[in-house]
Symmetry: C2
Amino acid sequence: MKTVAIVGLGLIGGSLAMALKGFEDYEIVGVVRRQATADYALRHGVGDAVTLDAGEALGRADVTFLCIDPADIVRYLSDHRDHFKPGSLVTDVCGVKGAVMEAAGVLPPSVDFIGSHPMAGTEFSGIEHAQADMFQGAHYILTPRPESAPEHIALLERMAAHIGCQDVVRTTPERHDAIIAYTSQMMHIIAVAVCDDPELFGCRGFEGSSFRGCTRVADLDVELWTQLFSLNRPALTAALDRLADNLDAYRAALREGDEGLLREKLSFSAARKHCLDLGARPASSYYV
Amino acid sequence: MKTVAIVGLGLIGGSLAMALKGFEDYEIVGVVRRQATADYALRHGVGDAVTLDAGEALGRADVTFLCIDPADIVRYLSDHRDHFKPGSLVTDVCGVKGAVMEAAGVLPPSVDFIGSHPMAGTEFSGIEHAQADMFQGAHYILTPRPESAPEHIALLERMAAHIGCQDVVRTTPERHDAIIAYTSQMMHIIAVAVCDDPELFGCRGFEGSSFRGCTRVADLDVELWTQLFSLNRPALTAALDRLADNLDAYRAALREGDEGLLREKLSFSAARKHCLDLGARPASSYYV
């Protein structure tokens, strides 16, 4: 029997502990700090076992998932650098990769680190919102180091398939952070900015699915997203500058009352979305 | 047997013709321009009957729903002003109310006009995407005229309940247009502006549910939305100015690297969204 340690049983760690159960010959062990979380995990079958003894668990884990906030990951890697089992794989699940990969530089050469980012989540947080089907249809992004063991990459690919991910995308930390600034972080900034509108509470009774869809993520985990945004500041700022320009072009067409230009711009944007066709992609492992 | 005429069997008209079937003692008659649409409607049971003879249908309809583009509504009201049955109710389903209510001024005093806006739709258009359950859980907004007959308002409220709407919201055309600029039109401008980003096609494999949610409506009906935006230009421009300000405040906090300010702003916005709680509202009829 091999061991997967999942450090932190929150929304994502808890979901991962549920989803990974039954994976090959691995026992799924949650590593938590609070007894209340351990009790909840045991009562609800979140993982196969749970412990408060991080040192012991890390020392026997063949794979360790760090499912804690980015700043905590940086600290944890440094604090526990000598506790991880030699030859083992350490990975994480957080939404920035550059800062985490850099922090992993403290690990001894005998410990392999590969960045992971399963692109799943909900607007809730905490183990009580964890779901075994959290990762169904999600992308699993991997940022290996040049020296990462191919068998560790293959292992994470099998785990991604086991938890229901639609595919595994391999890329660099830099590329990950640049594109995530657009596809994920910008969406969260839009959602909170829309909720800053003075009409927010007057809109009850007038909201449709587009409003619900756009603002769904606004009630976010403040500490987590403060860290994610701060750790990816240059890429996020650049993405938001591009958004401001694209919004300004629409605002100008409207301000000038140029219906022809507006129609032309809408045709252009709608055609781009039409071509994007996010739905129809085969499940496979590929590079970007 | 009374008659409801539904002029235009597109996404919304078609869905309405399906959803209204079985309403009290009304026959649901689709009024279309193209034989192909009539054939499709008959083959798929969209409404109880269908005709290409608008004059005849309007002359015997007790209720007429205009389910065509806003500019077509304006033209239709003028072209057919003398064809509507005296004492009947005429309404529409489109997303701007000021321009439509104004155009309804051409109707003779014997014809009652009440603006309607069932807040439902999908990113598709055309009768082939019509669904009987399109309006389930949606808000049905009414903008009656001061002289509108109470029994006509009550009739639309019963129809809204029959097609599955969660509630009926009564308001003025001005208030409707101001708030819809925020809750609906702004969401569509955001979606298309996000799709104008040069990273759009590079984002495959990196998109999660927030990206899908925010951009879902970007592949919109260009002609319809050009009209809706143009007919509500002042309110939409004002809403987009507010959005730009709110985005700028986040951009400034990020640009300055002020993590404390960022955390504070996220707490503020997330708390607003948390308080909004769009989910838990009783089904009822009320004024805004």
